[in-house]
Each structure stands twice: as C-alpha cells, then as structure tokens.
Amino acid sequence: MMIIRFTDKSRRCVQAAWEEARMLGHDSVGDEDLLLGILRAEEGLAAEALSSLGVTLERARDESEEMFSNALSSIGISLEEIRQEAGDAFEMRIPPGRRLPLSPRAKKVLVRARKEMRRLGDNHLGTEHVLLGILHNEDGTAVRLLAGMDVSPEALEDRLYKLRSRRAAG
C-alpha cells in the first residue's frame, strides 16, 4: 500500500473523484474521474489552471458522456434510444452499497503524482501534482477528454507552473 500525504485540498478532490465515478456509473475510479474530482471540488492550483483554460465541470462531464456514447455507437448501440426506451428507472448511478476501487490507470496517476511532488521538492501531495500525474498519462482517458475540449497537456502544464511560481512569489 502506497502512503501518500495529501493536502486537505487534494484529499477533497480525490473524494470528489469517487462521487463523480459513482454518479457516472463507472465501476472503478479512473483517471478521468480524478480530473472530474478536481473540477467538482474546485480547489487548489489544478482547478485554477483548468478553469483559466476554460475547462469546467459541466463541459468535462459532457465530454465524458460524449465519449461513452461514441464508444457505444462504434458497436451499433444508440445510448439516446436506450435512454428513451428504458424509461424512468434507467440511471447510470452506482448504488451506495457497492465499493468502487481505484482503477490501475488512476493508481498510475497517483504514483506519478508522488514522483512529481518529490521532483518539485514538496512534501505534501497537492492538486497540482495530481494534475501533473494525470497529464503524464498520455494514453489516459483524462488526456483524451481534455483534447476533446481543445486543451493540450502542454498548455495545462505550462499554466500550472506559471500559477505555481506566482504563488511562490506572492
């Protein structure tokens, strides 16, 4: 088990990731849920960097839904039709009784985040380290989700470092 010392803000972001995953019907907490968690909790440098590039929770959720819908239509299934036909009882949400594990990709993100934390000489894992971990995972769903909103990992990283140095200076 990996021991991570989170900041209060990043802990709330990770908790929010669980809520997002549950709401969206994910059977594990993925790297995209970590991203959505940052947006949902609206905390820390990561959220600031994201919102400065126009990434909002609303847009990110829409993009996630779009990717889901596209994956289904690639095998000939229309999510829209199913929604209409299944009626009121149809919802994606995972019921409270079921535990959601962290996905392997999300674990990789946190391992990477901890490396970033060390590299930057910090001793607590902040939201910016989590976001750097997310961005480093080029094959990840989160990076593709951001690409769908025309946000590149490079631009975000750049923004993150700028905000960081501004905070250090101020």
Partner: protein, 83 residues
C-alpha cells in the same frame, strides 16, 4: 447512427476502441439491469422470479439490488401484486 457507424458494428478499427466499447457496454449493461429489475419489482415480481429470469441465484439478485430499490421505495413497494 450513420452508415460509417454501421459498417463498424462489432469490429471497431482500433483495438483500444474495441476494448473501450466493451467497457461502455458493461456500464450500460449494469444500468439496464438495475432498471429492468426495478421495473419487474414494481410490476410485482418476487426476488425469486427476477433471479430465475436473470439466471442467477435469489441471494445474488437480492444482494445486488434490494437495498437500492428499498431506499428508492421506502415502506411498501408501490405496486406489489400477489403476496
């Protein structure tokens, strides 16, 4: 759904797309199962009947769905025939 989509049915171009379609399908399946079990329950089916139709044990279906449905319909089930 356009023609381009139709030609790809069952065989997405890229392995990753194919695998992701499976993940999406699993998510959809879970949501559909939950909805159908709820509908059957409201229609007055017993857990035993629901389980039989799904091809799983009564315990399995109860464990997976009972709490959610009871939370949603506290007290007496809205439309329970028979018992």
């Amino acid at each position: 759904m356009d023609e381009n989509t139709r030609t790809q049915i069952g065989r997405p171009q890229d392995p990753r797309d194919g695998l992701e379609a499976v993940v999406a399908l699993r998510r959809l399946l879970e949501a559909l199962e939950a909805a159908q079990v709820e509908n059957a329950f409201i229609a007055g089916w017993s857990w035993a009947q629901i389980a039989e139709a799904l091809g799983v044990s009564k315990q399995a279906v109860h464990k997976k769905h009972a709490r959610r449905i009871k939370d949603k319909y506290p007290g007496d089930p809205p439309r329970r025939k028979g018992t």
